[in-house]
């Protein structure tokens, strides 16, 4: 599968203007956290005991189906924002704070 792409190559601040390619990569990362459902998921994970939760628990408060929630979780895992760990029948998700911070830092 490959590591979640080092980090953002080039942010906004460097004196030189952004390449289209760099801009698309950075926009792609930002888009991962620019969805209301994904923000709610992140928020729930932050508030959860031990800062982790499984798909069922994450689905319940949302007015969405389980496949939809799994889809959002997948996108965030692929972006390196979430960590995924299978324990028995359940799969637990937790935030990777450095990655979230790295995305925020794109705008500095």
């Amino acid at each position: 599968m490959g590591e979640p792409a080092e980090v953002a190559a080039r942010s906004l601040t460097p004196g030189t203007s952004l390449t289209r390619d760099d801009a698309e990569r950075l926009a792609g990362l930002l888009r991962v956290v620019s969805d209301p459902t994904r923000l709610q998921l992140l928020s729930m994970l932050l508030a959860a005991p031990d800062a982790e939760a499984n798909v069922t628990d994450l689905t319940e408060p949302l007015d969405l189906t389980q496949p939809t929630v799994s889809h959002h979780l997948r996108l965030m895992v692929e972006a390196g924002v979430l960590r995924r760990e299978r324990r028995g029948k359940q799969v637990w998700f937790s935030i990777v704070p450095e990655r979230l911070a790295a995305i925020a830092d794109i705008l500095r």
Copy 2:
């Protein structure tokens, strides 16, 4: 029209989970800076002399039409990320750094 909406009401960190409404508002703000073209525009503005530029100058390096660039600039102005100032026939745009920082802070 109205002011650019105080700032983000509620960020990610508060112990309580995000409301749908709050999540949508925050996601809306993040989406404004989650587009490659808009990131390029922000980057060009940061690199520009006096940190400002007009529509023609901003359009030229991009492989896009002027209406498209105007559209992106409009979205960012409406979100409070850009300031707009007409000077003669031209309209000059510059970044509102606090607003950009406020958006970045959503993820903390």
